[in-house]
């Protein structure tokens, strides 16, 4: 049974989260050999995974702690520090 690109894209995504049964793995493999679009899709999902994993370690400069909130947090921490001692 030949799977469509739509079905294959679903299996490619699933394969990133669980181990596919052997028959499905084989069907995907065969399709990817023949289909450059799905082959690119698989690679691009892997790229996105790598980017997402690493991106969270890096700073995003746009969002900053608003000053009022910063001051409020500091005050609350000072109060808690007193309670702790």
């Amino acid at each position: 049974m030949m799977l469509s690109c739509e079905e294959i894209s679903r299996l490619v995504s699933d394969s990133m989260d669980r181990k596919l049964p052997l028959a499905q793995r084989f069907a995907v493999w065969i399709h990817l050999i023949m289909c450059k679009f799905c082959s690119r899709y698989r690679k691009q999902l892997a790229d996105i995974r790598e980017i997402a994993r690493k991106s969270s370690d890096l700073r995003q400069s746009a969002i900053k702690l608003p000053p009022e909130i910063r001051d409020r947090i500091k005050r609350n921490l000072q109060n808690s520090l007193k309670d702790l001692h």
Partner: protein, 189 residues
């Protein structure tokens, strides 16, 4: 001990950024950051210095965010409409072929995440997803939780989760291609 105010100055922005990109609400993000500092104060003796302070505090924050998401999803469970109505018909025709197949991506992914411009596009694309799809994706790809763990947080089955992840990835990939990689190709020409 070191004045906790310096903690806020040193790590406040980064923690707040991280929280805000996950919960999309400044008040909730502020609360989570405050709780993180409080928890850090209480357990600083347990911080053995194996990682950096920032990593350690971020770890505490991640747990707080997950608790928040768990509560939120219990309050507002995933509906059948969300799972079954939103299909990927924009990407595939009736016979299951790509309407527009993925283009060749020129850039090197290993270098991409270092580029601020790209990261802004990446986060913009993520914020274009519904919060349910975005939460599922981030829990999996940024926090690295397993299927089982995510299911407990979002109160969904594994099958539901895989549907959400498939959609999130398909839409995200499309957004990145339109807003970054296609433009990179044009630059080359």
């Amino acid at each position: 001990m070191k004045n906790p105010e310096t903690w806020v100055d040193e790590y406040g922005d980064q923690l707040y950024q991280f929280a805000f990109t996950r919960v999309h609400d400044s008040e909730i993000a502020a609360d989570l950051v405050q709780e993180t500092f409080l928890a850090g104060l209480k357990s600083k003796d347990r911080f053995e210095g194996r990682s950096s302070m920032r990593t350690w505090l971020t770890g505490i924050l991640k747990h707080k965010i997950i608790d928040h998401l768990r509560k939120k999803n219990r309050e507002y469970p995933v509906t059948d409409i969300e799972l079954y109505v939103d299909t990927l018909g924009e990407f595939f025709d009736k016979s299951g072929h790509w309407k527009t197949g993925p283009a060749k991506w020129i850039a090197n992914p290993s270098k991409l995440y270092e580029q601020q411009e790209f990261l802004e596009i990446f986060y913009q694309c993520l914020s274009g997803l519904t919060s349910r799809l975005a939460d599922a994706f981030k829990l999996r790809e940024i926090d690295g939780l397993s299927t089982d763990e995510i299911c407990k947080v979002l109160s969904i089955t594994a099958t539901n989760l895989w549907v959400l992840l498939h959609r999130a990835r398909m839409k995200l990939r499309g957004c990145l291609e339109r807003n970054w990689f296609e433009k990179e190709v044009m630059k080359e020409q």
